[in-house]
Symmetry: C2
Subunit: 412 residues, 2 copies
């Protein structure tokens, strides 16, 4: 093993999750252990991802987290404690100044380990940086650590943060099903769930079936085209059996002509990454039911709590999120670079995972959708295979530390 002595830096990027700080805690635990081994000296945290790094906005995490009790609170704090950014790095050919500046800061702080916790766009940064460092003979190990509530990263069985978001969705759906069932009149409740291109989080809406109850009446994912006529037909058919229906729908479902349902009547808007900005698939379906069925109808957008409701985090998710952060450090210390740490599910009936390392080139900018075998034949529900995949990811509740009736958080 080629031991590389020096300092490390860690950043968080992209949308926050309930588990991205648990992964940060894992990286801190890994770095503290590598410090004890005399390999990594100081672990810096970059404020607001690579953007803050370019401004040298660094904090000394080794000092701040010398106290174990603080690491425990960090593990239960939602959102990115270091701050985040949505910067998409250009290639060194297009933007050489930025890369020269990066090398300058790496040298100034003797950064030999670079950990970046994020989703697809962040893995693209890891890919570019690891290649650039290698091409310019700057010895540095660049390791990506996955995070996204969307669960759409390639090469990993699932992503840290997904299990907690899925648990929030499942628990909320179960509670909403109780709520909407109290009146005896015809009604439709539409629940809009995050997921632009992949319907993973919406599949979790089907989970109440494993917890002594019924699930939603209809579930629509972006992996299938949404047919408004068939939807209204299903509503009418189902209401013959019971009056109060509940429908789960991904924000990213599309009409047969390729337009997002959530675009409704407005024009197309795009964000910094060229993604179409959506709002309101639920609202559009609400209007559809109002017009075509005429019963009471309400739409509920689960919105940001999906990614920050750490009070109902999945113990499985938080434990794995810490684990994958530690594994990332271990891989870097071993000599790996240009990789993303992964969660690999073992074969067999009993759920267990190991951590792995995947070549970053396999992952960056790839989107993994919900597979066909998890979606039912009528494209409006989740199969048993899908439920079996999801079930272990939401298991277990964290022993949350409370402070005056609310979960304790750390603010860096």
């Amino acid at each position: 093993m080629n031991i590389l002595h020096g300092n490390a830096v860690v950043g968080q990027s992209g949308g926050p999750t309930a588990a991205i700080n648990a992964t940060l805690a894992g990286v801190i635990r890994g770095a503290l252990s590598a410090k004890a081994d005399g390999v990594i000296d100081t672990l810096y945290g970059m404020r607001n991802g690579i953007e803050g790094f370019l401004d040298e906005r660094l904090i000394n995490l080794t000092d701040i987290f010398s106290d174990e009790s603080k690491i425990k609170i960090l593990e239960q704090t939602p959102s990115a404690a270091l701050g985040s950014c949505r910067k998409k790095m250009k290639s060194p050919e297009v933007d050489p100044e930025t890369y020269e500046r990066l090398i300058e800061i790496f040298k100034k702080y003797n950064i030999r380990y670079f950990f970046y916790i994020g989703g697809n766009d962040s893995m693209d940064t890891v890919s570019k940086l690891s290649k650039f460092a290698a091409d310019h003979d700057y010895e540095m190990r660049v390791v990506g650590v996955p995070k996204t509530v969307d669960n759409d990263l390639a090469a990993t069985d699932h992503t840290p943060g997904f299990g907690s978001a899925a648990k929030f969705v499942a628990v909320t759906m179960k509670e909403l099903i109780r709520d909407i069932s109290v009146y005896s009149m015809k009604a439709v409740t539409i629940v809009e769930i995050m997921g632009r291109d992949a319907g993973w989080l919406t599949t979790a809406a089907a989970l109440p079936v494993i917890s002594g109850g019924k699930g939603p009446d209809l579930v629509y994912l972006p992996e299938r085209t949404f047919d408004p006529d068939k939807f209204i037909e299903s509503i009418n058919e189902l209401q013959k059996d019971h009056p109060a229906l509940i429908v789960a729908v991904s924000e990213g479902i599309k009409f047969p002509d390729g337009r997002y349902v959530g675009e409704g009547l407005g024009g197309r808007k795009v964000d910094a990454f060229g993604h179409v900005a959506l709002s309101g698939a639920g609202k559009v379906l609400e209007d559809l039911v109002k017009e075509k069925v005429g019963c009471k109808v309400r739409s509920i957008e689960l919105n940001l709590p999906q990614r920050c409701a750490a009070h109902i985090a999945s113990l499985t998710d938080i434990t794995e999120s810490v684990g994958v952060g530690k594994a990332a450090v271990a891989y870097a210390v071993e000599g790996k670079t240009g990789i993303m740490a992964t969660i690999d599910r073992a074969e067999g009936d009993e759920y267990s995972v190991t951590f792995g390392a995947a070549n970053i080139a396999e992952i960056a900018n790839a989107v993994r959708g919900v597979p066909d075998e998890y979606i039912n034949e009528t494209s409006d529900g989740i199969t048993e295979a899908g439920i079996n995949y999801l079930k272990p990811l939401i298991m277990g509740e964290c022993d949350v530390i409370y402070d005056n009736g609310m979960p304790a958080h750390i603010v860096l």
Copy 2:
């Protein structure tokens, strides 16, 4: 004490809460105890409130809940397990047939105790029924038990269900504050909270200040007129200090001309009670910020989870909700009728409550708003006195029983 032997019936009415079943559990516990004393024989549950009672849709709760473990699960099940209704009773003079039918069913089942768990409109039903029974020499004790997330009932310090809804709002606000603080760009997040005429639930958004953090930047209640110009001025002023703002707003805030902000550009709609149906105070404020400030803006409607998120229920609320249900039975057994059981806060620094009984005439159709001393001078925040009132109500977490990663519920 005049001992009245016979059967009892209990119903739930109005919008569900996370604690209305805890109160039902309290009534069941009270009735089982009165059965042991040889006073109440069978406790019936009416499906869908007074509507189902008129159809004789009754279930035998004494039989169903002979098992203590089922009562425990009922206590943690959100929404109204018996179903609910929104029927507003007409007076006996206007609708004598309904009252004759009621007396007929009372006699048929030998109902001598009538418990009705609900809000303002339900207390009106209690008032009418108790008067009618007395006027017609049918000996029956009619007792109301409060419930509403709105906390707007008169004669009680607070209402069962409010504490849990307030805890959900407080915890969610704290989590959202973490979430919105990750980026370094200007942004406004508007959180719309339930409360048509009273801003109680929105006051709970201010609670994160007692839990090691900051609260929302601005809080607007229906108790004060909403001034759009002053709002935009405050946003601009606050963003000079920090870029990401969060605003809590009651669904029922009104413009100076008396129109609901949530009415936006649409016309007025009214529900079965003649209340104006609202949607979108948050959306209207979102559009306002988009136009006048131009920064990134998002609105979040907390929606139904506010009243059904039993997984984060307040232990104080659930304990008191059970207690007030038991107290209602005890009062009826003692001979009281035409009353609502109340929660009375003891004087002094240490929080403690006793249960009381208030004349139903004092309560029915009265609305208790947030008092002046809980709202700050600039009408955009909550005072320390307000925080001190709220704080004990959200204290403590229930020891929730889980079933496959989701809280266990009972379905009747």
